[in-house]
Symmetry: C2
Subunit: 459 residues, 2 copies
């Protein structure tokens, strides 16, 4: 029986004999009795297992180490002790896997840095049990939201030859021997000898391919890994991370904001409803007030302003900025923070200067701004970025020339505008960013099972 099943039907099981398999999280030994803190990872709750010296193999049991895998049989009882409502009175056990005393995960507080060095063991700690359960549940909430709303899940390819992001931002992949690649007469590597007969990359976005499917299924979403080569060691950068990229045909920027708001509230509500113990834990040990923050988001009405209006507000603020707000520029972290605090709610900022946004975004009639939107959320800053896409073939081509993008690698993408193209929009949500928001965890390395950052790929 899983511990989750037991807790789901705990009252029915009182005085019944039960069998559990799992691990010893802590073991307090007294002269005549002992308490085992037991968990099997299927729920955040642990259960206490008690035994006394009436049990036949008392001395053997007392030697059981923290970390051991055991199978236990006993009777579930209401607990008379403080600290837990139920306990299992041990009748018999079987040691499934021992654990030496130098086991790194002892029942005490370890630093996050130490636990990163034990990446393969850290999911056994309370913090990471909570984080990775929330990650799993949030992933499901996302699928559930989109499927219930009629979206098609598309597995866009990770291997790509479209270098629209600039090849320096993408990992090159190859099957060639790097030490001895076949060469052309001019000394360059003969890419025709590689598996795809040209340089291929692993991609940083599924958007281009997602658009092709949106123009067939109307509403689609991707949810998969993406890669960036950024040589950046910050709390928010990783070289491998997961993205959700919905794309919707016959959808303008206002429709898109409706969807973003609806989706985010749905996910947060799902986590509040299904991970209440984990959220209570985060509230106590990771980020005070996080529960209230999440509940507030579900019940809020997101604000919508233009980039120009945002700059107005920033300029009028009586603050000495590190970066002076400017109508032509992006907004800095400090600005994001001010804007969300100013409105005390998530804020959509729309209508951005075209020069600081991507080439595929729809040019507004002013010829200066694009129909882009960033969602700024209190406490985390930018959580999603989206836009209406340029649906005009000629305008798109002009932008491609301006940005010096290789047309041949995106010709099919441009053709989508020729063959029954229509106004359409999409956004990207960084999954790790969302998990950081939901858990209060401040370093992206601590919401990814095995994080990849510059120089770090050991597990």
């Amino acid at each position: 029986m899983d511990l989750k099943e037991l807790f789901d039907k705990i009252e029915e099981n009182i005085d019944k004999k039960i069998t559990l398999t799992g691990w010893i999280k802590n073991h307090r030994k007294q002269k005549e009795f002992g308490f085992i803190d037991f968990s099997d990872g299927t729920c955040f709750k642990h259960i206490q297992i008690v035994y006394d010296n009436n049990i036949s193999n008392f001395e053997e049991i007392q030697k059981l180490h923290v970390g051991c895998a055991i199978k236990i049989t006993g009777t579930l009882k209401k607990s008379l002790g403080a600290g837990q409502d139920y306990e299992v009175v041990l009748e018999s056990y079987k040691l499934e896997g021992d654990c030496p005393e130098d086991y790194p995960i002892q029942p005490k507080r370890h630093s996050m840095e130490f636990l990163r060095e034990q990446a393969y063991l850290r999911p056994r700690t309370n913090t990471f049990q909570a984080v990775f359960r929330v990650r799993s549940m949030a992933a499901f909430a996302i699928h559930k939201y989109f499927q219930e709303n009629g979206y098609i899940y598309v597995n866009t390819p990770l291997i790509t030859t479209a270098d629209c992001e600039g090849e320096n931002q993408m990992f090159k992949i190859t099957t060639l021997d790097l030490n001895n690649p076949p060469k052309l007469q001019d000394g360059k590597v003969d890419m025709l000898a590689d598996l795809f007969k040209k340089q291929a990359y692993i991609t940083g976005t599924g958007q281009l391919h997602g658009e092709a499917f949106a123009l067939a299924f109307k509403k689609i979403y991707t949810f998969g890994p993406t890669f960036r080569t950024e040589n950046s060691n910050t709390k928010t950068h990783a070289n491998e991370f997961w993205m959700i990229e919905p794309e919707i045909a016959f959808c303008d920027l206002n429709d898109l904001m409706d969807i973003e708001e609806d989706m985010l509230k749905y996910i947060v509500k799902y986590i509040l409803d299904n991970c209440s113990e984990e959220i209570t834990f985060f509230d106590k040990f990771i980020q005070k007030g996080i529960k209230e923050k999440l509940e507030k988001l579900v019940n809020s009405k997101f604000k919508r302003i233009t980039h120009h209006e945002a700059i107005d507000i920033l300029k009028q603020a009586n603050i000495k900025w590190e970066f002076e707000p400017n109508y032509e520029d992006d907004i800095a972290k400090e600005h994001e923070k001010y804007i969300t605090e100013y409105f005390n709610t998530p804020v959509f900022i729309t209508t951005w200067p075209k020069d600081i946004k991507a080439w595929y975004m729809k040019l507004n009639e002013d010829n200066k701004t694009v129909a882009a939107v960033d969602l700024e959320v209190p406490g985390i800053g930018e959580l999603m970025g989206g836009s209406q896409r340029e649906e005009n073939y000629d305008k798109l081509l002009e932008r491609i020339k301006e940005m010096k993008i290789d047309y041949n690698s995106v010709d099919w993408f441009c053709n989508l505008r020729k063959y029954g193209g229509c106004y359409h929009s999409g956004f990207g949500l960084g999954f790790e960013r969302l998990i950081m928001y939901l858990t209060g965890i401040e370093n992206i390395r601590d919401v990814i099972p095995f994080p990849r950052t510059p120089g770090n790929c050991d597990f």
Copy 2:
């Protein structure tokens, strides 16, 4: 309104004015009236739009091309014509995006080969509408099954430095300039200059990392892309594909077979319940009898035999084999076919010769076989492969030496056996193989949105 919403509440909408956005799939024009076959991709069904010359812009409407994106308003009526139950009497329309007459997707039967060359447009055809909707629904069914049964979804890393599969089977990734990489004195590439300071790969499995999480959460699954460099142009090979890899602690080979059987029936039933129109389409145009085949699987009891028993049956068969069955060898396609037809049901084959299976599989007491299991399914052959894992540290180490695997790249994986390891099992399900089974599509290139095969990475 989406077409799916309309069909879900079709009777309520009769005689009501409705607005739809979508695409013209066909356009039959008569002198005084016309019929537009209209779809928006949100469901497999199309709807007919009718108009006659009483409409003000009759001549303009008659010029609308196949493939156009339009917005239409009209009144829903029960249809008096043959071929459809309902139709929309057109009142007004807006052309959202034109489509030239050379549009490659015309309302006629195109070959699968031709459509592969139009990969960005083919999701608009009936066949690919059905295939990719089933793919999306099946993905959700998988998530739903595991989440309902208390599994944790784990995003195992794709970038890895563990070369346990043999580096020739994995794509190397790099940020270095292939034409001019930094070199060491001995002439080799200086991998310390690369982003991860060593050679990294994109992986073909999440199992090793999955095991680390199973020993923390008891029941986990992965569902993500995997890569293989195989230079193989067959109907069943792709260089990028998706895998589902569940891993369960305190689970032996029999428990594992129970889970595999339960999961597969759940997915197939979900598709039968939620994609009945698509399945009917496949039954008619792709693979006769597929509906019955799927229904039969849901109601069958899977057979369980050993590899030795399978070879016995093959040897006793009165058949001239291309590959002679042998107790020491793998079984060939022709053998798989015979075995599933012999039992007329899916068959689990267990207890395989260790030399033809992977190094991490549990060695049986005979020292000759491993606790592995393949599921053979009528009509498709091997669908899943799994095993109990070697939980004994010393035996695992011995196998690693035998197989000449670099211990340093899997030391943490081995340590899982030292720190509260326990008997545990897992399996892999190739997602594309499953979709081929569910749809009757015979070429893996036609169940992947943008397939990657040797020399093919154009979109």
